[in-house]
């Protein structure tokens, strides 16, 4: 037996303070209401953070407004660029620290935070830094202007990365921001505030207000906010869209998904299985664009399933800070409850449930990677976003049927296609109603590549030249 032995990444690189305030106007300000954030892998309390009240949100928006009018919108693009380049560099320098902190607060494996999240964060700042002084070339007119103050609310699944997706383009275009991280994952955003100070970013350009639903609501409905950007559940997105109706506020939304990952009979099976596993078990399945519906062409169903189960048996669930861990902890008790409930529903609906044998730790929030076979479009687990390591497996006969089933959903964020035939890839890509189509790959992200959904997966794109549009007055 090849036992890998524990290979823990050291925690000592990160220095978590016992308590954090709000970051407003370049300074730390005590918050009235306080709450704790825990490590989902063992329920240990990591720190105490503030949950900003309406008045505190108001101060932050005012600070952002002043900074916008007196400093940031007046500053030439090439100077704004240099602040963003500084921030990118500091993120690279503090990369390991940020990765460890993200794994502690979020529960994701250190291999992911170290190799995927943090490098992409630095790359996003690097990429958008370069746009700050080239906006006239972006295709939005010779001299496009920023919008003003952006109120941004981000989710808990990729805390620092979602922060980068929001703040980098906003600042590059000349806007100032007030950002609210998710209540279960505030820590990397708070360290980012420290990084802004290290970079000598002018006060008020970036403000971080921690809190939960109420703080978020106060932020997006504030009159002084010109632009709302939200990533999170479709339900909340819908509420925000209603709230801004009739106002001047511009809004972009990046919401949920129930992506189809389609495997054709000529797909190289081992590669496709790697893609399936990555599609639903990467980040514990807490991914809006996760390939949560596997559509297998009937003729290769048995082969793919056997291969998939064999591959799943190699997945290691455990301590997020262990470098050999593939699947970390579920982010919160609430999310774990949701995953359990929907899984029970799946079994009740008649689908067959399977997980590889898995030893789950006693403390913390854990769920074994799971597949449901015999699923059809009529099942709730084929329609509703579970947001966990749970895969629903369906079958199809022809390309047209695959397209029909893939599109038969109110969502439209992403899709995957596995086949060796080039023309078929392009034919499918033409017909899949999704903002991102991955062919013979999955979960690939890049700051230059636009990301966003069709239909109820939201509107607006983040990343690339297209990502500038959300933050320009066009």
């Amino acid at each position: 037996m090849f036992e890998y032995a524990p290979a823990p990444e050291s925690r000592s690189i990160v220095d978590i303070k016992p308590s954090y305030g709000l970051f407003v106007n370049g300074e730390w300000v005590d918050g009235e209401v306080r709450n704790k954030t825990v490590n989902p892998a063992n329920e240990e309390v990591l720190a105490e953070v503030a949950w900003a009240a309406e008045s505190e949100v108001d101060s932050a928006v005012r600070a952002a407004r002043t900074a916008y009018e007196t400093v940031w919108s007046k500053m030439p693009g090439r100077e704004r660029a240099k602040y963003l380049f500084r921030i990118a560099r500091i993120i690279q320098e503090r990369g390991r620290e940020l990765a460890v902190l993200e794994s502690l607060d979020n529960g994701k494996p250190i291999r992911e935070s170290r190799d995927v999240d943090v490098p992409l964060v630095a790359a996003h700042f690097f990429y958008y830094a370069g746009w700050a002084d080239k906006l006239g070339y972006a295709g939005y007119g010779a001299d496009p202007k920023p919008i003003g103050v952006a109120g941004q609310v981000i989710p808990w699944n990729f805390p620092l990365l979602m922060l980068a997706w929001k703040i980098a383009p906003a600042l590059a275009c000349g806007n100032t921001v007030v950002l609210k991280p998710a209540e279960t994952t505030p820590l990397t955003a708070l360290v980012f505030a420290e990084i802004c100070q290290e970079a000598e970013l002018p006060p008020g350009v970036v403000n971080i207000v921690t809190g939960a639903g109420e703080t978020g609501h106060a932020l997006v409905s504030h009159e002084g906010v010109d632009k709302v950007a939200f990533t999170g559940s479709t339900d909340v997105g819908r509420a925000i869209a209603r709230a801004v109706a009739g106002t001047r506020k511009k809004v972009t939304l990046e919401l949920g998904g129930k992506a189809a990952n389609i495997v054709f009979e000529d797909a190289p099976i081992d590669q496709a299985v790697e893609g399936i596993v990555n599609g639903i078990f990467f980040n514990q399945g807490h991914v809006c664009c996760a390939g949560s519906r596997l559509l297998i062409q009937e003729s290769v169903y048995d082969e793919v399933l056997a291969s998939l189960k064999r591959r799943m048996a190699q997945l290691r669930v455990g301590d997020p800070l262990d470098k050999n861990t593939d699947i970390g902890a579920i982010n919160s008790a609430a999310q774990l409850e949701r995953i359990r409930t929907l899984s029970e529903i799946g079994a009740e609906e008649g689908a067959s449930r399977w997980s590889p044998p898995c030893e789950l730790p006693e403390r913390g929030f854990w769920f074994a990677p799971t597949i449901f076979t015999g699923v059809t479009q009529a099942h709730r687990i084929a329609r509703e976003e579970i947001f966990g390591p749970v895969l629903s497996v369906l079958t199809f006969r022809t390309p047209a049927e695959a397209v029909e089933k893939a599109n038969n959903t109110p969502y439209g964020l992403s899709a995957g296609v596995w086949t060796d035939k080039g023309s078929r890839i392009l034919w499918m890509a033409d017909r899949l109603r999704a903002g991102v189509v991955w062919a013979n790959t999955f979960n690939k992200f890049d700051p230059t590549s636009p990301f966003g959904g069709y239909k109820e997966s939201g509107y607006g794109r983040e990343g690339g030249r297209h990502g500038l549009e959300a933050y320009l007055d066009v």
Partner: protein, 273 residues
């Protein structure tokens, strides 16, 4: 007793190293002895530049951008050296900012200069820019640092490699820039700088059959410019002619100097089940 300073020797910059001219010659300029490049140095520089093309154009755009940004960091650190060579503060500032500007283009030029094409049939059709290869550059004589940066950065940020003929009368800034590049993780051979008499080395560069393009930014003699362009026609180099009048190197460069050295490749693939 006052201490004797250690004087710098100004040599060529080829293949990431600082060799003397194979001819052994040097010339006195700006109170220093500077290598006087020969046709064989041109030959060697082109070999180095060609060898570096595959690696440099194969690096990701993100990586190239990072390397160029690092060069800006190094440039910032050497401000005083450039000021001591007679550059003005505003020119040094502008040169560093110009370098940062170009660094940010590496992963964006394809989005601005490439596109999908809506052809009238079931085909995937995408046009993407690719670097042309080895670019010969004659650096501007009137602006030793800012002008030099303005012709080197746009060529290399997209993946080309360059052989630069430095300004004859003020070459020291070019060799100091070479020192910056040598400490910036820039692979050897991506930038090669030859100091000396442009009228002597220019024709060899212009007629070299393994050079893909020519930027005559620094040629002020109309006859020389015409003859270089004529020599370049032998293998149909892409040629950027000298500016028509005086140039204000501080103004917005536009994207012309990047697109001049980019080839556009259009790929088709049928769509069907």
């Amino acid at each position: 007793m006052s201490r004797l300073a250690v004087r710098k020797t100004y040599k060529l910059f080829v293949g990431g190293k600082f060799p003397r001219s194979e001819s052994g010659r040097s010339y006195l300029v700006q109170d220093a002895n500077v290598a006087l490049a020969s046709r064989k140095d041109v030959r060697d520089a082109v070999v180095a530049a060609r060898a570096a093309v595959k690696g440099w154009s194969g690096t990701t755009a993100y990586n190239r951008g990072q390397i160029l940004y690092r060069a800006a960091e190094m440039l910032e650190g050497r401000r005083d050296q450039f000021l001591a060579l007679g550059e003005t503060e505003s020119d040094v500032d502008a040169a560093i900012d110009r370098w940062v500007w170009y660094a940010g283009w590496s992963d964006k030029i394809a989005q601005v200069y490439g596109n999908a094409n809506p052809v009238a049939g079931p085909y995937f059709n995408l046009s993407s820019p690719e670097p042309t290869g080895v670019v010969g550059v004659v650096a501007p004589p009137e602006s030793a640092l800012l002008g030099l940066v303005s012709v080197v950065a746009p060529a290399i940020v997209t993946g080309n490699t360059v052989v630069v003929l430095a300004a004859e009368g003020r070459p020291l800034a070019a060799i100091t820039l070479a020192e910056v590049l040598a400490t910036s993780d820039l692979p050897g051979g991506v930038v090669n700088i030859l100091t000396g008499k442009v009228a002597e080395t220019g024709p060899w560069l212009a007629s070299h059959m393994d050079v893909n393009a020519l930027d005559l930014a620094g040629v002020r003699d109309g006859e020389l410019a015409a003859s270089l362009e004529e020599a370049a026609a032998e293998n149909l180099k892409r040629v950027v002619r000298p500016p028509a009048g005086p140039v204000d190197w501080t103004s917005d460069p536009g994207i012309g100097r990047m697109t001049a050295f980019l080839e556009t490749k259009t790929v088709w693939h049928p769509k069907g089940i």
